[in-house]
Amino acid sequence: MNILILGIGNILFQDEGIGAHFIHYLDEKYEFEAKESTVSIVDGGTLAQRLIPEIVKYDEVIVIDCIDADNSKPGDVYFFDYHKAPSFINWQGSAHEVEMLQTLNMIDMNKDLPQTNVLGVIPKRVADDTTFELSKEIIDAVKLMEEVIIKHLQKLDIEMKIKREVTIEEIAQISFKRDIINGPKI
């Protein structure tokens, strides 16, 4: 089985880049040991539709992104199957944005969306500065996000072994130019 871990987010917007930073973090910290499967890690930035050719190649996809949900607070972590999650997407009149959910929706329309799970986290909006700093809430959420990924990959018969301790803060400074070690395998 070919598995894609896809990080989504705009790294110029602090917490909103967490999806992208987080996959660099996993890539730096862990080795992925699998008997029969492959794990590919991709920093999807905010490319939306342009990621379609990449996404459809895999059997299983884990999308990591910021989400909005009712009754939530920054740092809350969610994990759900794209198909099992409520299907309603807020497309705001006829003026909406094409981003990750819509992209998945478009692949679904073409009937070749792989099994897709979403690991979402609620960002803290730090509006008026442009730096690579993250909020404490999101930094604290990383541990839980990590556990979710470890458990989920375990189910898919993949072991994650620590090769080097790093922090998400360190990674966030270099994500924009860092080479991914576990890049696309297919």
Binding site: I8, V42, Q49, E54, D68, E97
Partner: protein, 576 residues
């Protein structure tokens, strides 16, 4: 009766946060319009004091749609500053990547971002596939995905989609709006192409990635040249470019071109898309290098809609001011001297027309003060429209022999006069004409590259950055949404100042100190809105510019859903 205010927010079907507020009189005619970006873009601050060679990598993160454009601009601005001329192979490779970007962007824009402003999906479900299949031959020699069976399948597929409740992109639009003009059969043809375009855009996305070295976020452009040498010397790689290019070119000719002609014929009596453009000044920069000396599109400026004279661009006359933008320095400054110090003054309270037509309490822009994160770029003090329409008009006015026949062909097929080009309809058509020009002539760059590689395999020009010297340079070029420029100053070996003047700034900027509106605002004034609770006319006008307010807040919007069951509990782990 006093004017009423209507808010459309967000209006982009794509990256970024754009909000439009309009004031209508008792006849629903727009008297005033305010275009505002509600998102701070501090890109200029993040590159300061960094290695100039990193600028391109940071710039490409500005936005998911324009990523290649800003990457290239970030690289080429530094090259200009350091006085580097990359080898021809590098220039042509960048040109090929750029063509792929334009083809992808324009197709996606017409079908997936703008298409539903013209196509009534619900009406398509009543169409007769046999009749529609026949009609498709009126517009294309070899129609795509419009066989009777294809169209039957599309109807079934969309009906299924609707029945499942997963409307996705078809949810919440203004179906049945009076200003839709296509017949059910025509709507069905376009709907079929909407779905086909989902497939074609994948191929075009691959085409874009071909020479990127890495996908996503290409890394093959570097200050001095390109690094994808192995790809250029690999015949199968080059062959793949050719094949995918032709897939795109075929779709552009036999679907996109055909559909825009069909829509233009049907909408030519619809005043909301045929009113004259609000700003009649147009500016574009030469783009798409085809060989050693020639570019597909020309540089220049047209003033007051006069196609008889094209002025050359004097870069010194470009300024940005912030009288009505949330920055502290109001004065008009050349981008080399540009300042980006935020001064957010917020919104004010007012009653506006809500989604159901009733008045509701809202926050609205303070139009007398500051009201947008976008600055107001001006050329010689005047507002300019940039984008495919500007590129096509300027090349047309200059007698560009590759562009003139395509414009004339469109006018002949639709029976429209030249004046029709200066409209919302013309803007949407110009994007198609630009795509068609690339589809028809783009491979000249490919052939030149192949020929040149036989005798010259240089892809890189070496250089040194002297820490004791000061440099400044810029990139100016046309990208899918219009003229883009990046301006850089380098001191002590690091970035001293950086300014990006993006196309959507030219088009979407607020009024300037003289009260002159930019194209978005000016194009809305005078527009009549049939139904204030369904402002499709406003959306159609604004979407014709392909708004992309460079920078996205990327949050999956699952609001209103019961996501609680999927919350991961920190102590007990996964709850699902």
């Amino acid at each position: 009766m006093a004017n009423k205010r209507v808010i459309v927010d967000p209006i982009t079907r794509i990256e970024g946060h754009l909000r439009i507020e309009v004031e209508v009189d008792e006849n629903n005619v727009i008297q005033n319009a305010y275009s505002t970006s509600t998102l701070w873009r501090g890109l200029e601050t993040i590159v300061k004091n960094r290695d100039p060679r990193d600028a391109g990598f940071l710039m490409q993160r500005i936005c998911g749609v324009c990523t290649f454009s800003h990457y290239r601009a970030g690289i080429e601005a530094v090259e200009d500053a350091l006085g580097i001329v990359p080898p021809l192979n590098a220039k042509l490779t960048r040109s090929l990547m750029n063509m792929a970007l334009f083809m992808h962007d324009h197709v996606v824009h017409f079908y997936h971002l703008h298409g539903l402003d013209w196509v009534d999906v619900v009406s398509a479900l009543d169409a007769d596939p046999a009749k529609a299949s026949k009609e498709a031959f009126d517009y294309a020699e070899f129609p795509i995905a419009t066989g009777e069976n294809d169209l039957k399948k599309v109807k079934t597929r969309v009906k299924e989609f609707v029945a499942k409740g997963q409307l996705g992109p078809f949810a919440n639009a203004y179906w049945g709006h009076k200003t839709y003009r296509l017949t059910p059969e025509q709507n069905l043809i376009l709907l079929s192409h909407y779905l086909k375009a989902l497939e074609v855009q994948r191929e075009l996305a691959k085409l874009m990635a071909m020479f990127g070295g890495k996908q996503p976020h290409p890394q093959s452009l570097t200050v001095g040249g390109v690094t994808c040498v192995m790809d250029l010397l690999d015949p199968s790689r080059m062959g793949e470019y050719l094949t995918l290019f032709k897939v795109g070119a075929d779709f552009i000719e036999n679907a996109y071109q055909a559909d825009v002609v069909m829509a233009a014929k049907m909408f030519k009596d619809e005043p909301s898309v045929t009113a004259p453009a609000g700003v009649m000044n147009f500016m574009s920069h030469k783009e798409m290098q085809l060989n050693r000396t020639e570019f597909l599109f020309d540089s220049g400026i047209i003033e007051n809609g006069d196609l008889a004279k094209v002025f050359e661009i004097n870069e010194d006359l470009i300024t940005e001011e912030a009288t009505h933008s949330w920055y502290s320095d109001n004065e008009a400054l050349h981008p080399y001297e540009g300042k980006t110090n935020p001064n957010y003054t917020g919104f004010r309270d007012m009653d506006t027309v809500g989604p159901d037509g009733k008045m509701i309490h809202s926050k609205v822009v303070d139009e007398k003060g500051k009201y947008s994160w976008i600055k107001s770029p001006r050329y010689d003090g005047k507002p300019m429209e940039v984008g495919p329409l500007a590129a096509i008009l300027i090349s047309y006015a200059k007698g560009n022999e590759k562009i003139v026949p395509l414009v004339n062909d469109f006018l002949a097929k639709t029976g429209l006069p030249k004046a029709a080009l200066f409209t919302t309809l013309g803007r949407t058509a110009a994007r198609m004409i630009q795509s068609r020009a690339i589809a028809k002539h783009g491979l000249e760059a490919f052939n030149t590259l192949i020929e040149n590689l036989k005798v010259d395999q240089d892809t890189y020009t070496s250089y040194k950055i002297d820490k004791d010297k000061e440099y400044r340079g810029r990139f100016i070029g046309d990208v899918p949404r219009g003229m883009l420029s990046h301006w850089i100053r380098i001191k002590n070996g690091v970035v001293e100042n950086y300014q990006a003047v993006v196309p959507s700034t030219w088009n979407a900027g607020p009024i300037d100190s003289l009260g002159q509106m930019g194209p978005y605002e000016a194009n809305l004034v005078g527009l009549k809105v049939q139904d204030l609770s369904q402002p499709l006319e406003i959306i159609r006008v604004i979407h014709s510019f392909d708004p992309c307010i460079a920078c996205a807040v990327h949050v999956m919007d699952k609001k209103g859903n019961d996501l609680g069951t999927y919350k991961v509990d920190p102590i007990y782990g996964l709850s699902c």
